[in-house]
């Protein structure tokens, strides 16, 4: 699985090998440092995949527990942040397949940074609302493709859906988002 390295978390310095070794041996203080450093990334991934504050918190906590259990298996072939991102993503998708969605249309998380406008003049709040309202079948593959840059085949592998279905879902997700972000009569 690959991920765009342009995300904010990708620029965070990895924990040192000594810190990782201490956390892998059960040092709670060392592991807490990891949680505090990466909680925004793990929570954001979970929220974007699940579209629900409650589900995102559960899935993000689950991701950190998996991280704690598997930390001794981490090898430095990939950066730690990429390894944890992959873990957070698969945990969120697993959670989506396992749990029913908690309907929660009002309570949305705050942004860490103030960034009301995205590159194309679309507000962050508008994107958040549009993604949240997207049907799950469209949102998950669209988020994986257009937010996290995963290849279609990897999305099919992660979600357990046929490649052709994944492509159709992404195309429909994009069409639905375009309609939500560009009201009737609007143009590019």
């Amino acid at each position: 699985m690959t991920a765009s390295n342009s995300h904010k978390w990708a620029s965070l310095p990895d924990p040192s090998p000594a810190e990782l070794a201490r956390a892998a041996q059960g040092d709670a203080k060392a592991f807490r440092t990891i949680v505090e450093r990466y909680q925004g990334m793990v929570y954001s991934v979970a929220y974007n995949v699940l579209g629900s504050h409650t589900d995102a918190e559960d899935a993000a906590q689950d991701a950190f527990l998996r991280c704690y259990r598997k930390l001794s298996q981490y090898r430095e072939e990939a950066s730690f942040s990429t390894w944890l991102f992959r873990l957070a993503l698969t945990t969120a998708v697993d959670y989506k397949r396992r749990e029913s969605r908690h309907p929660e249309p009002v309570d949305v998380p705050d942004l860490v940074d103030d960034a009301p406008e995205l590159g194309e003049g679309v507000s962050a709040a508008t994107i958040m609302a549009a993604l949240r309202d997207l049907p799950d079948d469209y949102r998950v593959p669209t988020v994986l493709r257009d937010i996290y840059g995963l290849p279609y085949q990897e999305i099919a592998d992660v979600t357990g859906r046929p490649l052709g279905t994944v492509k159709v879902m992404v195309h429909r997700g994009r069409a639905s988002l375009r309609l939500k972000l560009r009201p009737a009569g609007g143009t590019a």
Partner: protein, 142 residues
């Protein structure tokens, strides 16, 4: 004009999945179809906005790190021998991941694993009752 063929190609184009000839064919169509040209521009803008959104970080709810650490405290130390109960819990959790769940009316779901478990339990009860009845009929006084 029916542009449905080209609308699909637009997605393939922005995904970089077209060869040279397909790109040339799409560009030829775009040169005289303003609707498809607008759709291409909007799809490109949408992808840009989504990529920007992905670079933002959402703030976890207050106390999130504390709750994670409280859950971690309940975990056995990494590498420690897991109890039979913990192994059973992990196995059931993995089964849930693999088998998924079935949607019920009202938005509820039921894990496939549970259905299988109830099926096995019901079969065991039915078989047990059958054997009991069979034994009872054999032991009837003459």
């Amino acid at each position: 004009m029916d542009c449905s063929y080209y609308r699909e190609r637009i997605n393939e184009y922005v995904d970089g999945e077209m060869d040279y000839l397909q790109v040339a064919e799409l560009q030829a169509h775009l040169s005289f179809c303003p609707d498809c040209a607008v759709e291409l521009a909007q799809t490109g803008e949408l992808r840009g906005a989504l990529a920007d959104w992905g670079r933002l970080e959402l703030a976890p709810p207050p106390g999130f790190a504390e709750r994670v650490m409280a859950a971690v405290e309940l975990e056995p130390a990494p590498g420690a021998t897991r109890t039979a109960g913990q192994l059973l819990h992990d196995t059931l959790h993995k089964l849930d991941d693999r088998l998924g769940s079935i949607s019920l009316p009202g938005g509820r779901t039921i894990p496939v694993k549970n259905l299988i478990g109830w099926g096995v339990a019901t079969a065991a009860v039915v078989i047990g009752l059958g054997r009991r009845r069979e034994r009872g009929s054999r032991e009837l006084p003459l």
